[in-house]
């Protein structure tokens, strides 16, 4: 089962390695990880995507909660959260295919952020599915390089992400 774990942590050195250690010692692979400041500069949010069964995840969450620098941990359900990822694709775009690539960019409401003679860098944001879809569409033209931020998320509506 894939889970999106959102953790509010103190913005201090060493916090990331403590958190990663709890996953690593159990042999759980972190699929993506995004860290950034919240509305309070002293607090960061980590969004961690892991593929792990429910019970072991429950144990890890409890252990995460026990870390002194961790303020709050939650397992976000996709239906109750807004999830986004940003990715950059460096795609080969020769004069003869360039128009087609630009069309794909438009369809996905992505952006061209850099252009050279036969390459474009495309910025896309969206859910994982959307990123996967655009990747699929771009693949035939030749993706030279790709970089993804990993997922970030917030709980929907009036609910606080806790």
């Amino acid at each position: 089962m894939r889970h999106t774990v959102s953790a509010l942590v103190e913005n201090k050195p060493g916090v990331l390695v403590r958190i990663a250690g709890l996953f690593a010692r159990r042999g759980f692979n972190i699929e993506s990880l995004a860290v950034g400041q919240t509305e309070k500069p002293s607090i960061s949010r980590m969004t961690i995507v892991v593929d792990v069964a429910d019970r072991p995840l429950e144990q890890v969450s409890k252990q995460l909660n026990k870390l002194i620098n961790v303020l709050k941990v939650s397992d976000l359900k996709a239906s109750e959260a807004v999830e986004r990822e940003l990715s950059l694709f460096k795609v080969s775009a020769k004069p003869e295919t360039r128009a087609e690539v630009i069309e794909i960019v438009d369809i996905f409401r992505a952006k061209i952020v850099d252009a050279s003679r036969d390459e474009l860098i495309i910025e896309a944001t969206g859910t994982e599915d959307k990123i996967a879809a655009i990747e699929n569409m771009l693949a035939p033209y030749g993706i030279r390089e790709m970089s993804r931020t990993g997922k970030i998320a917030l709980a929907r509506g009036g609910k606080k992400t806790e």
């Binding site: 942590v9 060493g14 390695v17």
Partner: protein, 574 residues
């Protein structure tokens, strides 16, 4: 007030009420030792190995309930602490370990005697600090002691780069803690307590399963009260020894792999287990799928991560054992005034029958047997203010079985990590913490040899510890497994080659040495050791090839216990 970081550290430790530090010096720690030397409030004890310093601090904490403190220099000093820190972590012991570190600017350069000790210890500490600003030392020390000693206790490491200890700072007397993410729960949920009380009064075959958490939270009297008002029998874990006097008629002794047959039967047949400060360790439960198949479980623990970790729990109560038990006892007294008493007579009769059928016993044959030695140590110390510590192995399990622990904090043993070599350091730490107590270390010939150098510490500080080596000339516990489960191939467990002369060793360290070879010599030797003001090494030359029984074979259920102590046998594989 201006002072060095080192001095600020010492002042902060004094402020926490630290009286003793177990440590070992080194280049980058000199600045701290330099200041400690001038402290009128703290005694620093120079050990002969950093591992011993850590174990001694750990046992000091167990014996006194205070936070134990150990200290080592950077690099090898710090890495030598690691086993001791892991030991404290596994048994949830409040400890603060202070290590020196290379200068801040040199960290990460493989500087001389650099070890990334905060990294190395990450999975075995409750928390750790790398000091990056010397003005934070007072706050960090305050937080470290608070974290180590509250909630589920554990070791906290403070790594102090040398420039931090040498820099001049303004000492902040009123440093305040800043721990927004640390809020242990103390008070149990009131409704859950009510539900638990109801469930207890509706059960027919209840058992209390008390663990180290009862000792850690100083809740032995509340636990004993719970047993007495309800008359529910109590079994304890190795770490829970002392939660109820084992002479109490409701006491079933220890359960688990080497627990009493009647404790294991009671657990296996119970319809309600009241677990308090115990963590359903595999040495206790045996095969989980057959553990207490008919029992509902009430689990009281301060650590939410323990609830439901190994077994399904019906009534979880997160909170401090002492507080929860106080509430529960009140609730039960109230309820019992209304509800008519339960028909528990049959259950009590059943337990008495099990006690009769499978008593904790051994067959004697005139040889010097380990169980007899331990029984005599118990008999000789039961009316004294005594602390028993142990090494790890068969002798430890016999000690768990045959020492009836009467008070909390008087049985000190390495449970979770099972660290050979814990016996001598823990005797030293306990004796420092409890100077008036009679301290007996029940040790193995293998375990003792891992730390024998620290007899020098006993001599240096006139610590009259009594080190009892049950010399079976084997790594006996491993030998027992080889005999039972590994075709009697005694690979690398024979300690005869190279066996030192422990009497000469005693002499070398200025300790009293007594070698005991016959049963009738046992009691007089123990009495002599009790009277002696010197450290003593008592070598009991016991019959070698004995097994610890009862035993639940590894991977089997508690029901599959091997009960009987076979005849004492002579001659093994040697």
């Amino acid at each position: 007030m201006k002072m060095t970081g080192a001095k600020a550290l010492v002042k902060s430790l004094e402020k926490e009420g630290v009286k003793h530090i177990f440590g070992y010096p080194g280049g980058r720690l000199i600045s701290v030792h330099h200041e400690l030397h001038e402290s009128k409030k703290i005694q620093h004890l120079l050990m002969r190995h950093e591992q011993v310093a850590a174990h001694a601090a750990d046992a000091y904490a167990r014996a006194t309930g205070k936070v134990g403190v150990c200290m080592a220099t950077s690099g090898p000093g710090a890495t030598n602490l690691v086993t001791g820190i892991a030991n404290a972590y596994m048994d949830s012991i409040p400890m603060v370990a202070i290590t020196a570190q290379v200068g801040s600017m040199d960290i990460g350069t493989d500087a001389f005697q650099e070890a990334d000790i905060t990294g190395i210890t990450l999975p075995i500490v409750k928390h750790s600090y790398l000091v990056k600003d010397a003005t934070e030392i007072p706050r960090i020390v305050k937080e470290a002691f608070f974290i180590a000693s509250t909630g589920r206790p554990g070791p906290v490491l403070i790594d102090l780069p040398s420039d931090m200890s040498m820099s001049q700072i303004e000492y902040d007397e009123n440093a305040e803690m800043n721990l927004p993410g640390y809020k242990p729960t103390f008070k149990g949920h009131a409704r859950q307590v009510k539900t638990a009380a109801k469930m207890i009064l509706a059960s027919l075959q209840p058992v209390i399963y008390a663990g180290g958490g009862v000792i850690l939270s100083n809740a032995a009297s509340e636990l004993t009260n719970l047993a007495h008002i309800t008359r529910i029998p109590v079994t304890v874990t190795l770490m829970g020894k002392g939660a109820i006097p084992e002479t109490d008629e409701l006491s079933l002794g220890m359960l688990g792999m080497h627990g009493t047959a009647y404790a294991n039967h009671a657990i296996s047949n119970s319809d309600l287990i009241i677990a308090i400060g115990a963590r359903f360790d595999d040495r206790v439960t045996g095969k989980l799928s057959t553990f207490a198949p008919n029992a509902k479980i009430i689990h009281i623990d301060v650590d939410p991560a323990e609830i439901g970790k190994n077994v399904k729990v019906d009534v979880p109560i997160v909170g401090d054992a002492k507080q929860v038990l106080t509430e529960l006892n009140k609730q039960l007294a109230e309820d019992m005034a209304k509800v008519k008493p339960l028909p528990w007579a049959a259950w009590h009769d059943q337990i008495v029958a099990w006690k009769k059928k499978h008593p904790l016993a051994y067959k004697s044959n005139g040889d010097l047997l380990p169980q007899y030695v331990i029984e005599q140590i118990y008999e000789a110390t039961k009316n004294l203010d005594a602390v028993i510590t142990t090494g790890v192995g068969q002798h430890q399990m016999w000690a768990a079985q045959f020492v009836k622990t009467l008070k909390p904090r008087t049985f000190i043993s390495s449970g979770g990590l099972g660290t050979m070599g814990f016996g001598v350091p823990s005797a030293l730490g306990a004796q420092v913490g409890r100077p008036d107590a009679v301290v007996f270390d029940i040790d193995g010939d293998g375990s003792f040899q891992m730390v024998s150098q620290d007899m020098a510490t006993a001599a240096a500080y006139d610590l009259p510890v009594n080190i009892c080596i049950l010399n079976n000339q084997w790594l006996g516990m491993v030998r027992q497994w080889q005999e039972l489960f590994w075709d009697k191939r005694y690979a690398y467990t024979d300690l005869t080659p190279g066996m030192p002369d422990f009497m000469k060793l005693a002499e070398a360290y200025g300790a009293e040495g007594i070698r005991i070879t016959k049963p009738e010599e046992v009691r007089p030797a123990i009495e002599r050791a009790i009277k002696s003001k010197k450290p003593c090494i008592l070598e009991f030359v016991i019959l070698g090839e004995q097994g610890v029984f009862p035993m639940v074979p590894p991977g089997k259920g508690l029901q599959d216990m091997i009960y009987d102590q076979p005849e004492p046998k002579k001659g093994g594989a040697k």
